[in-house]
Symmetry: D2
Subunit: 360 residues, 4 copies
């Protein structure tokens, strides 16, 4: 079960960095929905590295195939297998790692867990695993968009000490996000971020960042009381991403510093429903959506692979100096943007299906 | 499934504020473990309100009974039903809420979800629901302590703008935590926090805060790759708590502002195993424990119930002024301390059982 | 998870023969349904032993209490805890079993599994465990009856070599079933069965039997392809009952002896839908209901507890003679009737909820 | 979840008859086990049609590829994706079925469930879906054989009115089973069965049958009390197979006609453990294995596709005459043999993993 997410909309991913293929089986897609590879490929392209000078230049085409569950362009209601072949199946660049676990990578903990690990280190902790999530998320997003007009938009809200500073959750579009390589819709902040990333890359280092995400046009009533609250599932989904270290919904950590009188979101009449004046709740109250935009932030640590030499210990305990070869992504948050959107879509889609039987 | 947590160690809670009882059924407790009510009651007592002038004075004894799964003081390996009777079953104080959803409470979202709600508002979003979690967590914690010497200690790390400032994760004990009513082991900070809470209470307001938690003596190898990472499950567990708005593990949001060269945790030989020099990872790498202490923080918003009058809208959209009656908890983070510990115990216990078959 | 059944309508039972209570937590009951203890008690009364001279005379009142999830007679959509107290908590009659596992009981296998067992032997394999199932089933049945007019009727179709011989699946009612103590609606067969059971009881022996069940007014489309087929879930549910040894749906084992040309159920126009002329399929095709009555049979072995002395071996391997004390049920199939109905209701209810989101 | 089987050893199958591929993702395979395609292919070859004149002559090579989870011939503990390409992706032979649901097929019930169906009818109810099960089962079987010396052997125990008559559960091997095309190890019965199948085929009809299966060298203690009993899971697994109509474990339906004094299995000392003299229990007591061979039987109805013309109704209710084209399998039980073995392996493997943590 470790590789399956969801209760009614279930996504099971598979694949390591250097095996034959990565992908996902998606069970629970409603029948009769139009679906082609071209509905899925765009988010995979946004996830792909090598799109700008900011990220690693390894070329990966990542073309997705639908192997099952769709006939004549319509979903059958049966499991959809999505496949992306790995082009580079020679795990040759990783020989040094056999003796030395890379600091803050998954080499050591996978070895402790399984007594074995993929030659590329923590094979399933590789960024390529997220291909299956993004492909599945594209299906979920398409369904939610057609049914509710749901919009999920994420962007870079921080790189190192630099903040994105965009607070208007209503208007930002993916086009605006993609206007800069760093995927921060604030042009001025984006320029500074890109400069910082370039400088970090030149110094063979890496830097962390923050992604903000907003989900608009969500119906009220999504989220299950107690353990499967909407925000609890979002937290689960986001912390399951490689390099994620933190999650906050609505006011988040900042809200913990506030007084209740300021933090409460008063109700007010909105077009045919109740809405709230402010949205410190993040669109979620008691774990259930209230119809306001759901918004949250995810913190990512700096990538663990840096070209600077690192003093560390080998598996046998001997001290050694580790130096990563090749070029590596100095900052992964721009690429994390579509991945965050995809995981949000998986959470929302599952909760929509779980809510259906109640609204009869 | 909305009220069940865990895969092999499964906790299903039940009960609203004003029904006959609250409790939990715990499935997956290993057989042959000594267990009596007196092993469970202490954490329930720590959770109970009315222990100090800082919290609500409603008296709730919350005595737990073990109804099944234990014979002659030994667990049978079968489901353990834990029951705590509700003493106050008259949901009388809530009449006003029938027409007006309380701001930032679950009244509105529950109504949207179910088309009905308990007279106390979001019945399952009540703090009393956490009784079942804490009782179940005490069982998990006892098992983990006996088997691994595991220690789980949480404390208040922030109230409003005040910070706890304790960074020594190794030494803090529950005795030190409980030495002050606010459960901050830094005496100086604790005094300031208590003063702040008192002043907030006097002004009929409420205030948020942060709980920090550390888990020591955890074996390496816990956590499932991809979706059920150790930190993802902790995030899920913590965000499922009432009023939780944020979670961060290890360096958390602060880590997103760092460079990789500074953030990486170099390995070093420790007694018979590899350890790390620093612990920005929070004891988790690639979602799997590495044997270092697991530490994280949880942000809680200020309680939504304040005695100050609030301008808001009724269900029918008409503007109204809402004023909560009675006395209410101005700050829930001190009481959240044992609840956070319990949820951490549930996560770790489940992952220990899930790891067992691999270590054969 | 071993004690939980269902995916969206989830029933978790708890309790041993001699602990404080047995019961169930039922999660997934739709909100807003009228529910009182008096809706549940009748099936518990039908399940209760001591109703006739055919069954064991131990008196168990088995009064059920609803502890949670219901307010003012309406379900809240939250977990419903159902509790029945055990009156006899002295596991005193079982001392001999400490050294000698009873043949064809669960004493030995429980001991092998857990390294411990309840003093009453396989505590969870006790017939009292089914109380939780029956109580939960009554809720499911009430919902299905109100929504679809669903009728579930089971009866005794065989005792030992005697066959019930009723083939009219359409008309039989519970009243007809309960007209005789043996619960066979064929009066003539019932008389012979009762005579057989009495004679078996007098010879201190026991005898097996078969229960047949029919579910009418089920909508088409229930059942999940591949693993969670309607008939697969029914088989799972029925074989999970104590003493069940076989299950067959529709034509069953008899169907395996037929030719396809005779076995196929031709379609024919029925009031506003397609129906089938015959029903060898048992109302299920490809694992999905087709709108015809679902019917199946369950085989139960003779109760393992007989008063005749049995030559067997003690746990330590020494040969011994075991003689059960007290009076025991010589034939459990009459009491199995409401239990079979309850399990069928749990399966159908879960599948109804799982189908809901598709029919939007 | 409808396409996933198992709790810790989880198999998710995908694929229709005429899409690009069928297969399975297997999660929970222990790490460090040797595994190559050649370990899986033999059971797929046994499952494949066209091996003898008894079955359909369509040639399907069904070569399996391992896409993930294995490196250098060793399992990594991560999900294993198994893929078999469909060679015939032209769903052309099924045009007639668009208007007329085939009697006792899944065409009608799929249409009622999804409002759409694969052009080949109930796409997931196709026999090709079992490819994923068999491939996954081969992995489970390899693990269990290496660890416990487990042997799973199934054979044809009945075709139409003809019975196999083999009762020696201990000795029969797969070699003996495969010695005849009908897979009945009783040579005399096999000859009669083959003659019957030939004659049924010549008359354009089909015939049902029974498969018997025995699992030897199973440890005691497998199976979860209450709902996930070993025999309940076997019943679930077997009834999830296409065309299965009945299941019985141990004495089965015959046992329901016996007296308890005859049916009870007395214990006796066996090499270093307790065993039973007889095995009416089928190796399962209280749902938990007792160390004796587990044995059961599965009834299969005659294939629904017959070349004889059938009077039936179209979707619109009009009466019509349906005549299947091409050649069809007159009896599927010989091919069901490896499928039954595979499903048994999946059940046992899952229960072995679920039992691990208890035996610590």
């Amino acid at each position: 079960m470790s590789s399956t997410f969801g209760t009614l909309f279930r996504v099971s991913t598979f694949g390591e960095s250097h095996c034959a293929a990565v992908g996902a089986v998606v069970d629970g897609v409603p029948a009769g929905m139009q679906l082609r590879e071209s509905d899925i490929q765009p988010q995979l392209d946004r996830r792909r590295p090598g799109q700008s000078e900011l990220s690693t230049p390894r070329e990966e085409k990542d073309l997705v195939s639908i192997l099952s569950g769709v006939e004549k362009g319509l979903t059958l209601g049966t499991p959809i297998c999505l496949l992306v072949h790995n082009r580079d199946q020679r795990p040759g660049d990783y020989r040094e790692m056999e003796a030395v676990p890379r600091p803050s990578h998954a080499d050591y903990s996978y070895q402790m867990k399984y007594g074995i690990r993929a030659s590329s280190g923590g094979g399933r902790s590789s960024a390529r695993e997220t291909i299956g999530r993004v492909a599945a998320g594209a299906i979920a997003e398409k369904y939610l968009a057609e049914r509710f007009g749901l919009e999920i938009v994420a962007w870079v809200d921080g790189v190192g000490e630099l903040e994105g500073g965009m607070v208007d959750l209503e208007g930002i579009t993916r086009e605006q996000v993609d206007a800069t390589a760093v995927r921060c819709p604030n042009r001025e902040a984006a320029a500074a971020m890109m400069q910082l990333i370039g400088s970090v890359r030149d110094s063979k280092d890496s830097v962390g960042g923050v992604v903000r995400c907003v989900c608009r046009n969500l119906p009220a009533g999504l989220g299950e009381p107690v353990f499967d609250k909407l925000d609890a599932l979002l937290a689960h989904a986001m912390l399951s991403l490689p390099a994620a270290k933190g999650f906050e919904v609505g006011s988040g950590f900042g809200g913990s510093r506030m007084l209740g009188s300021a933090h409460n979101d008063p109700f007010v009449r909105k077009e045919g429903r109740l809405g709230t004046v402010t949205n410190y709740s993040g669109g979620v109250q008691g774990g259930i959506s209230n119809g306001e935009p759901v918004h949250f932030r995810v913190a990512f640590k700096p990538p663990a692979t840096v070209s600077l030499p690192q003093k560390t210990a080998a598996f046998d305990g001997t001290e050694t100096l580790l130096e990563a070869k090749g070029r590596h992504d100095p900052c992964i948050v721009p690429r994390a943007v579509p991945i965050v959107e995809s995981m949000a879509a998986l959470v929302l889609m599952d909760l929509v299906l779980r809510q259906e039987y109640r609204s009869k």
